[in-house]
Amino acid sequence: MRKVAIVGAGMTKFVRRALETPIELAYEAAKMALDSCGLTLKDIECVVLGSAVDAFDGVCMKGEYLSGGAGAWGKPFMRHSVGGGTGVFSCIHGWMHVASGMFDLCLVVAEEKMSCCQPHPQGAFLTVYDSILERPLGLNLLWVVAQEMNHYMITNGLKSEDVALVSVKNKRNALDHPAAMLGADITVEDVVNSEIISWPVHRLDISATSDGAAAIVLASERLAERITDKPVWIAGVGYNLDTWYWTSRDLSYPVYVEKAARMAYEMAGIREPQKEIHIVEPYDPFSFKELQNLEALLLADRGKAAQLTADGVTARDGNMPVCPSGGLLGVGNPISAAALMKVCEIFWQLRGEAGKRQVPGNPKVGLAQAWGDMMQTGTVVILKV
């Protein structure tokens, strides 16, 4: 298989409400990614855009609308969406372009401007549900995800305090992230005393809707080493989608994340993930998701992720740092940009460029994962230097 590397990355600040238009946000991230590896748009041969939901930015055919900001005019351009899994999938879609042998240089951009949706972006989530059988019930996104959280916690015998540790860790990690919007020094008590939005979800268990964009530049093996002296190789990719009929599924365990992970591990030749993966950026829009995803990624034994967190294994200086960036809980949640931010984080960490967030010990292998649709899809990327 042809080797593909990430050679540059960029992102905007994640903010509650941005002054920039969606097109400008995409541009800022794309420009920073290009500048970071000394390339210009002329060098780029194709562009891939990932954006989760059109409704937030208030446009239809969002890919076309953003195409200028993503540098796509005059080039082969495509946009995809796998809901929350989009940001990591955008790296995979870009990988397809280069690994196919058709292109050598691909720009991948992810953007989301959720604040456009008034009076509150949450309202747009109504439309992700079944038009005939679910929407008439007037559901909020939390009505469904909170059920998954409850099921996970009950199945694994966890209390709110066990899960709250993730919010505490990630928000603290985010204090060192220049683009973060939710960095904070909080305690477990703060989390469990915060307002109950949809029991068992507390306000501080959730990452807020945000605006932002991120971008990476992918290069074929032939060019990667000419562009940068430390290309970060895409060693494995995997993605998997479960049935729409979520009421027929076991919500305590995202088996589709495990399948996506196995697909990526197979491609990367990884047999013992817990030993071979040094840092992890799993998707954490809710505190319990980090734990549940770690287990499905086979990086923690079933039901044991909470204990690993309590033991400090997943802290930045622990044996397996998880969300050293601060994750969605700490940095912010412009859906697709947030997941691509995780890929960028692994990129910077493996190159030793993560500044104050740098994980010690020269990590060589990192994994970024996202989750999306109706609690249905897992997307996984494994990076190596």
């Binding site: 059109d54 239809c60 055919m61 005059g74 082969p76 058709m102 989608l241 899809t377």
Partner: protein
């Protein structure tokens, strides 16, 4: 370029008619996919990856990827959705096979345009919210502006555009899957209501519902699956200026670039001679002519002559839209490109019945994403 050959080994479809109240979109897709599996002699477990094409606002559902897997037998499998034309899903599947991670992929896209009660207002949501949407007018104005400039620069006449409607809707009468076959006269078209001068209502494709599913396979597997795989010779896709202020108002530049990319891959130097049949986007009648020029299938300004001479009739030397095109089959939203691919596959297999183009060995499918975009793709197929 590509070192591995990939072929289309199965096609299935449902439709294409103006309404489809008898089935939900799931039931429609299930039938189309079942037919595609049957056509290829495969089962869902033989497929390595699935790609669908769809736009949220056209389905009335956010994150249409959620709805993808069940009808395809793709539960707990690799699936993703491209928010673009079916041809974008097609080239994504093609690239994924070229990487070597997958050998057999399935693509799906559909239209339930009949379920959208105010399509114009939804298309307006695709206009720039700051510069264009506040003008609060139907997006057809963009087509009218472009047609006007195109006629002015190319010398193509309104009558020649009207002939495209007549040709395509008559072709559709020969096509059992086309939903809008009709015998029209020149005056019918020219005198129909002016929607956005000089574009008249009969020059605008009506919509249809339907679904198309295709299965692609890499060379070795393709040759085992069927004795007449349809080979992908070249692909190209491009997006030009989305902004109205910066676009080229007479030429389809994205088509030129996509075609160049595809011809280069396919090693085609003289398209007019080497392409035997073409399915070209004709969502608005003038578009067929504009796209023919951009595809290099005739010189600039010559497309009008082609239609006058009958060169693009099924019996002509460059049959264009033997299926009836968008005008005759119906505009299928994101599935439009898939219908064009479907027709070329049927033509190259010799399964096109009364509309069969004789001795067709190399076919070209082209699509434009529709208003207000400047995006589309070109795929070149052959049966050898």
């Amino acid at each position: 370029m590509a070192t591995k050959r990939v072929a289309i080994v199965g096609v299935g479809y449902y439709g294409f008619r103006p309404v489809s109240p008898e089935v939900s979109f799931r039931e429609m897709i299930y039938e189309a996919a079942t037919r595609a599996y049957e056509d290829a002699g495969l089962e869902p477990k033989d497929i390595d990856g699935f790609v669908t094409a769809g736009e949220d606002w056209n389905e009335g559902h956010s994150i249409v990827d959620e709805l993808a897997p069940d009808q395809l037998g793709a539960v707990k499998r690799p699936v993703f959705t491209v928010n673009g034309d079916a041809m974008h899903a097609f080239v994504s599947a093609y690239m994924h096979i070229l990487t070597g991670q997958m050998d057999i992929c399935l693509i799906e896209s559909r239209s339930k345009a009949s379920n959208i009660k105010n399509l114009h207002e939804i298309t307006m949501m695709a206009l720039d919210p700051i510069y264009t949407r506040p003008l609060d007018t139907s997006p057809y104005f963009i087509a009218g502006l472009e047609m006007n400039r195109y006629l002015y620069e190319s010398g193509v006449t309104r009558e020649q555009c009207a002939r495209v409607v007549i040709k395509n809707r008559r072709n559709a009468l020969l096509n059992p899957y086309a939903g809008h076959g009709a015998r029209l006269a020149l005056d019918d078209v020219l005198n129909s209501d002016v929607i956005s001068y000089p574009l008249t209502s009969l020059e605008i494709s009506p919509h249809s519902d339907g679904c198309v599913v295709m299965i692609l396979a890499e060379e070795k597997k393709a040759e085992v699956i069927r004795k007449d795989p349809i080979w992908i010779r070249g692909v190209g896709w491009c997006t030009e200026s989305y902004s109205l202020e910066r676009r080229n108002w007479s030429q389809s530049v994205f088509t030129q670039k996509a075609a160049e990319m595809a011809y280069k891959m396919a090693n085609i130097r003289f398209p007019r001679k080497e392409v035997h049949v073409a399915e070209v986007n004709d969502e608005f009648a003038y578009k067929e002519l504009q796209h023919l020029e951009a595809l290099g299938l005739c010189r600039k300004g010559e497309a009008g002559h082609l239609i006058d001479e009958g060169a693009t009739e099924i019996s002509g030397d460059l049959p264009v839209n033997p299926s009836g095109g968008c005008l005759g089959v119906g505009n299928l939203l994101e599935a439009t490109g898939a219908q064009k691919l479907l027709e070329i596959v049927l033509q190259l297999r010799g399964e096109a019945g009364r509309r069969q183009v004789k001795n067709a060995e190399v076919g070209l499918a082209h699509n434009w994403r529709g208003l207000p975009t400047n995006s589309g793709a070109v795929v070149i197929l052959s049966n050898f």
